[in-house]
Subunit: 564 residues, 2 copies
Amino acid sequence: MAQVQRMSRLMVKTLRDDPADAETLNHKLLVRAGYVRRTAAGIWTWLPLGKKVYENVARVVREEMDAIGGQEVLLPALLPKEPYEASGRYEEYGDLLFRLKDRKGSDYLLGPTHEEIFTQVVKDQCSSYKDLPVILYQIQTKYRDEARPRAGVLRGREFQMKDSYSFDASDEGLAEAYALHRAAYQRIFERLGLDYRIVSAVSGAMGGSASEEFLAPAPAGEDTFVDCPECDYAANTEAVTFALKPVSTDGHAAVEELDTPDTPTIETLAEHLGVPASATLKNLLVKVDGEIVAVGVPGDREVDLGKLGEHLAPAEVELVTAEDFVGRDDLVRGYVGPQGLEKVRYIADPRVAPGTSWITGANKADKHARNVVCGRDFEVDDYVDVVVVEAGDPCPACGAGLKLDRAIEIGHIFQLGRKYADTFQLDVLGQNGKPVRVTMGSYGIGVSRAVAALVEQTADEQGLCWSKEIAPADVHIVAAGKAVQTELALDVAEQLGAAGVRVLVDDRAGVSPGVKFTDAELIGVPTILVAGRRSADGVVELKDRRSGEREELSVADAIARLTA
Amino acid sequence: MAQVQRMSRLMVKTLRDDPADAETLNHKLLVRAGYVRRTAAGIWTWLPLGKKVYENVARVVREEMDAIGGQEVLLPALLPKEPYEASGRYEEYGDLLFRLKDRKGSDYLLGPTHEEIFTQVVKDQCSSYKDLPVILYQIQTKYRDEARPRAGVLRGREFQMKDSYSFDASDEGLAEAYALHRAAYQRIFERLGLDYRIVSAVSGAMGGSASEEFLAPAPAGEDTFVDCPECDYAANTEAVTFALKPVSTDGHAAVEELDTPDTPTIETLAEHLGVPASATLKNLLVKVDGEIVAVGVPGDREVDLGKLGEHLAPAEVELVTAEDFVGRDDLVRGYVGPQGLEKVRYIADPRVAPGTSWITGANKADKHARNVVCGRDFEVDDYVDVVVVEAGDPCPACGAGLKLDRAIEIGHIFQLGRKYADTFQLDVLGQNGKPVRVTMGSYGIGVSRAVAALVEQTADEQGLCWSKEIAPADVHIVAAGKAVQTELALDVAEQLGAAGVRVLVDDRAGVSPGVKFTDAELIGVPTILVAGRRSADGVVELKDRRSGEREELSVADAIARLTA
């Protein structure tokens, strides 16, 4: 790349207005600043400035992957169907997969990720435990036929990703490769200047360390996560746990039956009794593999059927219908309470702890009961975190009220284990001469998405605002317009360029200083140098793009500062 | 990239035998040396060593494109159908195009080249003559569904190409952009170490400089071209011209009719008369837009119908059939001669020059004539180079006998003109305030193909043999096996690496010295350093991979040599 890029020769057309259909900052600003251009829905062209930023992100990723011993390869994007059929993903991906046929009618797909092909490569190249461990990576174009491609380059149908895969002969080796990636990702996102959180991607049941996501908080994000304002706890909403805290069952009044006509819902009941919904116990009936099961949560909370299903998997969870009550006199619809529900398995959220007292159904039409105490009047068969997490729920680490935030998933690390090795019978000869099944990890960073996330987190009202490592140039020199100013600007640009500073110099003729300043703010290079009013005296102005701080300096001082 | 790569940690598996289906050097050796692996027919994976070589070629291309002011961009590979329908190429490409539908049923294609999309980009980004000239390029994955993908990475269905496009407001601008590309391509191929020729891609009729190909002579090549052994003339076989050299028509004997029963072909005639076929004149009858035309060439030469068709385009050229002779008593099939063919237009090759004398048909059954002199007994309406070029034909530049050689097309530069600008109405505001239609050039280098061409031209019986700029490392250090040797090898590797030399060090345990030496030759790094027998004395051997020359040196001298 040329160290000095003259704007008069750069293909960049800035726009004053946001594109009509743009909803997110990265879409608006990357288009307005001439970094990207949409070619089709979710399919983007990287223009010269955008390509530089993209390459800077890719370089950081590459350097850190090399530093952990990653070996760079390049796999095709056009892939035969067979390996994906073998793994089951050809079907599982459904409409997300771009499928096509070649001239002979053979089936192909455009790769969404490459676990299958990497497994085949390693099966071909590695035969002994001595050939392992191996970490392979590529920075490559991926395809997913999203139903609603949106948000600029944040969620494209064609996009660039760094995907890497680790291959080990032992679980300890996988844990080490995973830890190497986790640390490399931390360095990458720190170098990129992204604010991020690492969260467990799945609930504790699957093993907390087996899969983590790197989330960049941003309003445009599609993921919701919980974030503790007091400590460094952060988690996927599905992964938040609530500790069971039993208290004594003593000291509660006896169960008392209440006349509650026409109160089949929590809302009608709470209103009728003049109590908060949180004082009541909601008992949701579901069918688990056909058997009716009751799920108890505080009346003001919702059941997360996804979490419940994940906990009970592989059993099927369905909601009950009117027919399920036929012949079940023990189940009084709308008036169910856990006390006396002898034939039904009772699952409860940890908030329904032993010693807590509730208003709940009395198992008779139009009747409820109060002072129904867990551990005294009913037992819980199984505690499961099933409520939908809400802002203000206690942090599992420190107890402070959690925040719910939106975020962009910028990275994902995953201990895959032997799923793909089993599919393709990937074994190596072990130290004892016997075959050992290989264990794998898979790790991804959205490179084009990271650019979008950076914009979402760092842009301001004037435009883009890059960190030094990612910016398309180090210094943006604005020649205000007169000959002496342009001359000075080009002279400074040349001196800086010769010193290895990457310079963008706005030497355009016939463009007003105002437009040049506005463009400089929009384009977002970290330092703006203005050859303006005092050019004839050899004085220029330095402006910090982010803070807006300005300073007048002699040319020599400015160059010394910028080459320091 | 790490400066020191230990073979013990590199994913590379060398093979002693050629892959069963490999026909070309690059396929055999790149697979055997562990550089590439086939994923599907014509679809390849670049393994770690191959990726390094690929990136080195890409870097050279990028540097030279930047040097002529090229601006790098990245366009999508998945493209909407509409722009390619507008240009007509959606149909023209036929089966070569990979076509697919998205989840909504919209039509897409995988880009074979990007003229359409670049035209749209420039239409969007450039509005004034001041925004031009622009040269845009990308190094990107391309797709062509070849009927017979073959020859390793030489002719893939998914492959990497540098394609660039110039946009100018004037023909002079286009000529300049073309000249810049031509010079950049020369520098690129020289830096890569490729032996190449620049040839006119089309015959003179279309303007010799409008399109040129860069050909790398190699037996595995799919193109045939003519090459002068005496001067630097080289051309596509279609583009060779033969100068018309009229001589005096005086001094020839009179036309004499010969009795030649049953000699309707040149072969039967030449045998019957006991003369060489070159003494006879062959008159091929064709239909040009339905009208019969005769084409005269020496009897020993073939007519290139492609050349003839190109010359007469857009008229349609067909061969005559028996029915075309009905009612044409002037045309005696098998015995046609140009003398007295008054109703038929006569086209001839320049070899049938005024003053040459021929044996040809007498326009009577079973009769031929001798001493039929061009310019005396018949006239030529139109001279066209129509014969198929043969080895030994005179060089148009120096007259020496031409050679016919096979070559790989590694680059192509093309003055497109306004075809795509017309399709997409790409105008800019001219200096006079009126719209100017933009003129374009398109320029391609096959990056993955260049790697294949390098192998075809430079490999030897031991294996690959890279030039310094392209090699995956500068030095390949072989540790013969003993502890002292491995220690020395790693020490030298570290010193060289610290000095910026790219080192591959074979520190594998349990691999015999013989296998390591064979692998080093196969992998093809330019310099091989052996820590062998005299390691304890601090003496190593340096071997030049290409020449095979060996030399024993002290470690200090070896390091000084390699870091010089």
